[in-house]
């Protein structure tokens, strides 16, 4: 409906003739397709990191349920039966899940677990059973890996802040802070810092650790916002909840004109439907939250299942594939995440 398919010029007579041929041929094609042997259906196991309620994954606002649902939705258009396992963040459970999948004779195993020893054991057991493995976000020996690229995501956030500062505050004293789960998001934080220092080598970059507690954001940002003489403040938040808390802190301090914020994740706390009027909304283009870097954990199934299908069809897949992170702003949020609260 969009892009190339919609790019067809409908008036050309020659194209109309071609269209007519397609229409005439189409019934035969349907019949032929119907007569062909149905495509083999595969059973694919997905062992999730954890599906515990309220537990966020990868330092973002996404949960295991979001990841699982993305597999359910992505499987709708594929010849796939899914079997779900919950690794519960536990090595023994992860190994037991792999054993259960072997007993069930699944065609492929997607492993999302943080634990090198367990992942090695899982790899050995599945290899012995002749079941291919696709690893998600954490390496599994011998398996292709699909993962986030935290360093790239951080650089996208840092670039966005740097470009805004260069465009808006050129020549004005500026500081930068990275706030959130700083210690457990090292690559992300490093990416932000690299991008900022590349553009503004003299701008100091401070790290403010919240350990995921957004109630700490205002207290940690307070001294930065109250410092004299006042300076412009670039804020990279490691997740969306922290970005929203930072915005609140900045506004409470009366410094909204002097701050710009970029988050990471693009979870539902920061974007929503046409009527939700969340922070990232086309009608909110003047927000000091410039955007957030998409991690697409809610679309992981759409990325990973096609790779699994390629493996099952005997195609070679790269040893490492990464999430195509992208800055989501009020200008592109509805294109990237179309709202569906309309009837």
């Amino acid at each position: 409906m969009t892009g190339p398919a919609r790019g067809i010029a409908w008036l050309s007579r020659a194209r109309l003739v071609r269209g007519a041929i397609v229409v005439m041929v189409a019934p035969w094609m349907v019949t032929a397709a119907g007569a062909a042997a149905p495509e083999r259906r595969y059973t694919i196991a997905f062992a999730n990191l954890t599906e515990a309620p309220g537990v966020s994954l990868e330092g973002t606002g996404f949960s295991g349920a979001d990841v699982r649902q993305s597999f359910v939705l992505a499987a709708r258009t594929l010849p796939v039966e899914l079997v779900f396992y919950d690794n519960q963040g536990d090595d023994a459970r992860a190994i037991a899940n792999a054993e259960a999948a072997i007993a069930r004779k699944v065609d492929l195993y997607i492993q999302y677990h943080r634990g090198g020893t367990a992942n090695t054991a899982v790899a050995q057991k599945l290899k012995a059973a002749g079941i291919p493995v696709l690893a998600v976000n954490e390496p599994v020996p011998g398996a292709p890996l699909y993962s986030l690229d935290n360093a790239v995501a951080g650089r996208i956030a840092g670039d966005a802040l740097a470009q805004f500062a260069g465009r808006t505050w050129a020549g004005q004293p500026t500081v930068a802070v990275v706030i959130g789960r700083v210690s457990t998001s090292a690559e992300r934080v490093q990416g932000v810092a690299e991008a900022l220092r590349k553009r503004f080598p003299a701008v100091p970059v401070s790290m403010l650790e919240t350990q995921g507690n957004t109630a700490q954001v205002a207290a940690l940002l307070g001294p930065v916002l109250a410092a004299q003489p006042p300076r412009k403040v670039l804020i990279a938040a490691t997740d969306d909840a922290t970005a929203l808390a930072a915005k609140s802190a900045v506004e409470s301090a009366g410094r909204a004109r002097d701050a710009a914020i970029v988050g990471h994740g693009v979870d539902r706390s920061i974007h929503g439907g046409a009527n939700d009027r969340k922070e990232l909304d086309p009608n909110n283009r003047a927000s000091i939250v410039l955007g957030s870097v998409a991690f697409y954990l809610d679309r992981m199934g759409y990325q990973v299942l096609p790779l699994a299908m390629r493996m099952l069809r005997g195609e070679t897949v790269p040893a490492r594939m990464v999430t195509p992170h992208k800055l989501i702003t009020p200008a592109n949020v509805f294109a990237e995440y179309p709202p569906y609260d309309m009837n």
Binding site: M1, T2, E336
Partner: protein
């Protein structure tokens, strides 16, 4: 001075009439043309000819009428800022306010509502791609503060045609693939379930129905059970729905139907098959093919009737107000058999 003023005026006119000033899209490369010509604003109801209506009338055999509309009342599922509210004017019931010696009294209503609420029809002006709407209409040229000046409901012809109910719940039950939602009191297909061309064809085969040009197709998914529970299940009802995938919609379009109605709020599967596509079935049916969408249709009664009578076809009794410039409106639908 006069010359300078004239030059300025001409410059302004030139600027304001330039394509750049309107920022219009090339609609001929974005939307299909109408098969009824470049001036067509009617869409698929062009197919409802006298012969079609006469043939459809043959569906009336027992005269039994089955309701296919939900009540329009406060509390039914709506999105966000949408609302529907009535205000009764009954001043003449006050003592002494009746008219004449015969003491005539009267009442009337003020009805405040968006048009796309309850059981309603989506018109040709409801959905576009960029600023391009049905029949390659650059809609930016044809709207004002109050309404559209093209593609309004006043252009529609009759819906006096044959209706067909496809009981998708039965199709899924028979195929052993029904995954109902626990909140449904009767069997329903869960949200996110894609209805395929094969599903539609299985549903038609169930009652030995072959679609005809100008038919109106109604699909029973059971999801409307949540609508009936309003307001308790409004959030769940609105959170997604089972519905047509793009292939199924394209197949229905190829059958040259007039309208597609379901017991859901968008007819199409939500979440969409492609998470980066917004309402692709709406665009396919309305924008590209001029085929109406009817949402929040009460389908359970006619599905039950079809199950007991083994007849899935009926005469459609539905009219649409000649509401000038509107994109859609409430409708009441009856099936007459």
């Amino acid at each position: 001075m006069l010359r300078a003023t004239l030059i300025s005026a001409f410059a302004l006119i030139a600027l304001s009439s330039s394509p750049v000033a309107f920022a219009q899209s090339d609609c001929k490369s974005i939307v299909k043309p109408s098969p009824w010509g470049p001036n067509d604003q009617t869409g698929a109801t062009n197919r409802v000819t006298p012969a079609v209506t006469k043939a459809a009338a043959a569906e009336i055999q027992t005269g039994k009428v089955t309701n296919m509309s939900y009540p329009l009342v406060d509390g039914v599922p709506l999105f966000g800022s949408r609302f529907t509210k009535t205000i009764l004017t009954a001043t003449s019931l006050a003592p002494g306010a009746s008219f004449g010696e015969n003491q005539l009294t009267y009442m009337e209503d003020t009805w405040l509502s968006q048009s796309h609420v309850g059981t309603h029809l989506d018109g040709m002006g409801h959905i576009g791609i960029k600023d391009c709407y049905y029949n390659q209409t650059p809609m930016g040229k044809f709207i004002n503060q109050n309404n559209m000046t093209k593609l309004g409901l006043e252009n529609l012809k009759s819906f006096a045609t044959r209706g067909v109910i496809i009981d998708m719940v039965k199709v899924f039950q028979d195929a052993g693939k029904l995954k109902s939602n626990s909140a449904c009191k009767k069997p329903c297909i869960d949200k996110g379930t894609v209805i395929t061309p094969a599903d539609l064809q299985a549903g038609l085969k169930m009652y030995n129905v072959t679609l005809r040009e100008a038919d109106m197709v109604f699909i029973h998914t059971g999801w409307g059970d949540l609508f009936e529970q309003f307001p308790a299940q409004n959030a769940l009802y609105n959170s997604g729905e089972p519905g047509l995938g793009k292939d199924a919609a394209a197949w229905l379009a190829s059958q040259k139907v007039v309208a597609v109605g379901t017991d859901t709020w968008a007819v199409e599967v939500i979440p969409s098959e492609d998470p980066k596509q917004a309402f692709p079935v709406h665009a396919l049916l309305l924008t590209d093919n001029g085929i109406h969408i009817i949402e929040n249709v009460r389908t359970d009664l006619i599905a039950a009737e079809a199950a007991s009578s083994k007849r899935a076809t009926f005469f459609v009794n539905m009219t649409v107000p000649k509401a000038v410039g509107l994109t859609g409106n409430f409708v009441a639908v009856d099936a007459i058999q």
